[in-house]
Symmetry: C2
Subunit: 227 residues, 2 copies
């Protein structure tokens, strides 16, 4: 967590978030008022935040990672149209792509794409087109939401698509529970990744043509000088 | 800066970095030993860090943004091969893509690509292919190193390429000096961006087909529900 985020929470009257994240910060900010809504109640959560702010309170809406990367920042602006009196500020954080990259070594370093495999709000055809474009242009690719109960085979499907342009020996990495109790990571080839079951707390990195293993770490060199 | 980064610097004997960044942290960690090398002396800087560590010291190598995104983490692992006794840990930070996004509003939110326009270490043909692939697959695109003295027309060239697939009304944003004294930002269309001069301290965001302006902020909605 950044110093700015900590100070912002300290200066808040109310902290709002998804139940799990509220529980994670509760003990560190004992004197605050806490409110939460369950998953899939994101719009309600935003409305709740604006209604509290309309009472004259300073409100913090929290999410995991960075609020601007698959987080609540966008929805807050969308809902905020109805509350023009309320001033909104986004405090950046460390997203899983960079937080988990630090665990694996230095897998990103150069140009990369972030793609979510969740098709709840995005048509799968659009996700497919992005996977193919990113693989063809030799990006390092970081996958969010690689799996869920209803989408057990999505990572396998994504790997098959990327194999049209990436070698099956491409260096890949997975990290679970980034920065939390029980954090674990593993390096593997794209071929192995294809048949590896992952859960919704896992983030996946697929290297570019230059990515390699150095001393047990996943490293993408900065340039293409040696090509 | 994250709390973990602050604590790591506090626990270091030596702090090493590019001159400009060393000067930025010097006043906050007065009791440390500071070493620096100028720009383009990155390998020397890494060797310097490992040589200090070999003396039994705890050394921090600093860079701006996140060390794993166009930063020093990769090179440290590459140079580290020669120093297997030295233990290396990467502390994640806030990269310009997310730090500057918070200034503009919520431009990323969904799938996005990070592309550097610097062709010092990457052939321009590869950069071109990535710009086209990212534009065609409707990614939000964040451009690092959009300009320099020797590459004044690169942003213009990049915009022309992206216009093959993105509308000239695509919502774009630029932020200079992110999180520093003199920070400034601006929203504009892709057509306007094409003829806008930027410097090397500027980061550029090009929206996807859904990105829009909401209350003076650049916002990409989370999903494609309304398509």
């Amino acid at each position: 967590m950044t110093l700015k985020a900590i100070r912002t929470l300290e200066n808040s009257d109310v902290i709002i978030g998804y139940t799990v994240y509220v529980d994670l910060v509760k003990e560190h900010f004992a004197d605050k008022e806490f409110l939460s809504t369950p998953m899939k109640k994101e719009v309600d959560r935003c409305v709740m935040a604006f209604e509290e702010a309309m009472k004259g309170k300073t409100v913090s809406m929290i999410c995991s990672g960075d609020a601007g990367v698959y987080g609540m920042a966008g929805l807050m602006y969308e809902v905020g149209v109805r509350y023009p009196q309320v001033q909104l500020e986004v405090i950046p954080g460390v997203t899983a792509a960079t937080g988990g990259a630090a665990v694996l070594g230095a897998p990103l370093i150069h140009d990369f794409c972030l793609i979510s495999l969740s098709d709840l709000l995005t048509p799968w055809e659009k996700i497919e087109a992005r996977l193919l474009a990113a693989a063809q242009a030799d990006f390092v690719i970081c996958l969010y939401n690689p799996s869920s109960k209803k989408r057990k085979d999505y990572l396998n499907r994504a790997c098959r698509l990327m194999l049209q342009y990436k070698s099956e020996d491409t260096v890949c990495g997975i990290v679970s529970m980034i920065g939390r109790e029980g954090e674990s990571s593993r390096m593997l080839s794209l071929k192995e990744l294809m048949d590896t079951p992952v859960d919704m707390f896992t983030t996946v990195w697929i290297g570019n043509s230059q990515t390699r293993e150095i001393g047990g770490k996943m490293v993408t060199p900065r340039g293409y000088r040696h090509e």
